[in-house]
Amino acid sequence: MSDRTQDDFRDRILARKPLRLRGGGSKDFYGGIIVGDVLDTRAYRGIVSYEPTELVVTARCGTPLAELEAALAQRGQFLACEPPRFAPGTTVGGAVASGLSGSRRATAGSVRDFVLGVKVMDGEGRVLNFGGQVMKNVAGFDVSRLMVGSLGTLGLILEVSLKVLPLPQGDASLCFDMPQDKALAALNHWGGQPLPLVASCWTQDVLTLRLSGACAAVASACAKLGGERLDATVAGDFWTALRDQSLEFFAGETPLWRFSVPSVVPPLALPDLPQLIEWGGAQRWVRGELPAAAFALAAKVDGHATLFRGGDKANGVFAPLQAPLLEVHRRLKQSFDPYGVFNPGRLYPAF
């Protein structure tokens, strides 16, 4: 079955016509305007191997993320990078190709940090294996991580091996009433202390923190930090809604901008627009029509902006690249996908 699916994929790729790689379609809104026929990855699914004591799981691209996470939860483990599931059908392949990470990113790491190996089909239908299933592996260039966040423009991710972690024993969430500038200062101060602080969310003058780790450490941190402790169920629902962007903040058609900036950057000069801040200050969401100058605004503070959802994509979706780096991108694209088959235009207009 799977071999036949691989052969089908290869036949489609060898036709050398633009393809739009798609899993659950939960991130269709993300990235540049794309053309081409849909190549649906969902037939290529299933967990290939899972060794809890090795902290590694390997799954095919079309595996629903929910299915993978359920299998891990059964053994008391999880994907600490918590890729967002904007819709129920989110697949493992889509999570890796988009490279988007959840609320623990600043401390636990990003999807890229948890990828140990990939199997990809390139633009000539060849199956390539990079990385592996072990934590430490420096043989050859780190092409596995290059694939993360490449939005399917370099190849069709067939299979991926991810590092998993044990579910933390203790978990608590605290709320504080705080304006944005105070919240940013507090987050950066706490970030430098040995606290089990794993996630944060500031919006509408309320800062919510998540503490997770050994029970004793969580308890002592709660005592030290103060604030109002959230009920466990309410807190669990809140972090899930944040991860999947189903909080009220994310509702509606107004364009959603993402600013990825150093955590210490003062509040962005966009005071009238609704904002939500995660990752200890390093990921800032803004709702509103912003001019293309948003890219420059982010670059000025040593970060970058993305028109994440909605809005006018004519000015570009992702921040422009430095000329020599753009050239490196072009050459990489050319070598992995010489006929321009994979998701043309999804990352940058040129590829």
Binding site: V134, K136, N137, V138
Partner: protein, 502 residues
Amino acid sequence: MRQHSAEAAQDFSSVDRTVLVAALVAELAKVLPAAGLLHVKEDLKPYECDGLSAYRELPLAVLLPETEAQVVAVMKICRAAGVPIVPRGAGTGLSAGALPHCDGVVLSLAKMKRILHIDPVARVAVVQPGVRNLSVSEAAAPFGLYYAPDPSSQIACTIGGNVAENSGGVHCLKYGLTVHNVLRVRAVTMAGDIVEFGNHALDAPGYDLLALAIGSEGLLAITTEVTVKLVPRPELAQVIMASFDDVTKAGEAVAAVIGAGIIPAGLEMMDKPAIAAVEPFVKAGYDLNAAAILLCESDGTAEEVAEEIARMKAVLEASGATGLRVSQSEAERLRFWAGRKAAFPAAGRVSADYYCMDGTIPRRRLGEMLTAITAMEKKYGLRCMNVFHAGDGNLHPLILYDANVPGELQRTEAFGAEILKLSVDLGGTITGEHGVGFEKINSMCDQFGADELRAFHAVKRAFDPEGLLNPEKAIPTLHRCAEFGRMHVHGGQIKFPDLERF
């Protein structure tokens, strides 16, 4: 007569070479300070090898730029002249990655050794490539912060070298490798362009070139500045030393600790020969009767450590540990670690020479690997002691030999290659943290097929189209693999119909 003309040709070529080298040195002298350009043979000698002294070569010259502008100028001159560049940090590498090229220059970043900026609030340090690993943590210490990756050579090795090798250390199961702890690398390409991979945010637009640059062994660009993440120093760390009467049991205990949902800050294993070599030297208090010992560390707040140590002890006891000791002071903790960290010098004390391997395997295959190594000791007539980053499956078998005994080095290399081949066969890799360099280039043919190798060469060309940066390292040519007589074949199927070309 024929022989005569051949000699003449050789003479001519050597004259030609002298003229070319003189011209190159004259060009380089215009952009480098006098002390930053070595080209007399005696001065080149210290650069003929890195930490793996079995391979040696003299370069045409050694360049020691002091500024990024000098690096740019050097790159442009070498590119125009078609001269290969071999970058070098502290020269502590163990895979001959900094082995000079006989027709190239060595570019040492040792003089670019300033810590440019420490921001305790943003928890980052911006440093030049020649800054030593440990000095970053020392500079961050007053703020209660440190740089997590701690390769055993951390007192000497540099951040630039760590970036090139994606170095690990004894704490990387919990705190990650270099790739998890570096935010940004500023570098100069072979074309002389200054580029930045990553930034001071947590991600960057476009492809993740930062991930490609880290661990690229100096094949893609020359690092001139690095931003590293600093993390809060844990309040407390304690280590358990557990003895086992059987190596396999110790291996199973490792899996049991992880299976119990514990991620130790460090989890290391040493076998009996390693313990025997280290103990008289360091007096760490290791159990000389044990077949293996495990060092299992917990760090965090005092409450967290107490909770975790209790859980770890329970698991280790249930796994058949014959003795357990928990460090009762920081001095005792450091003493327990001192033995592990001194394993390489200890090998040097008990043997004229030693050769350190670096394969990684899935932890559950440890018993098979150790049994196979014991058989290989007999086969090659050489002793081997094993130290092991057990938490992440990274093995460091130290093969003991004497380079002065004819044939021993060759037997050692064959022994090492067989261990690496087995690492791949067990589902692992030929190098966990030391890099491929020149040393393991043939073993790359065991791990990768022709298609992957072609892809690696394409990545290399995307950054360095002329192939002048650290050539003939890290990625073997298909031709080399064909000559070596090995090419990894997936699933037992020959799928490289074009192989007959070689």
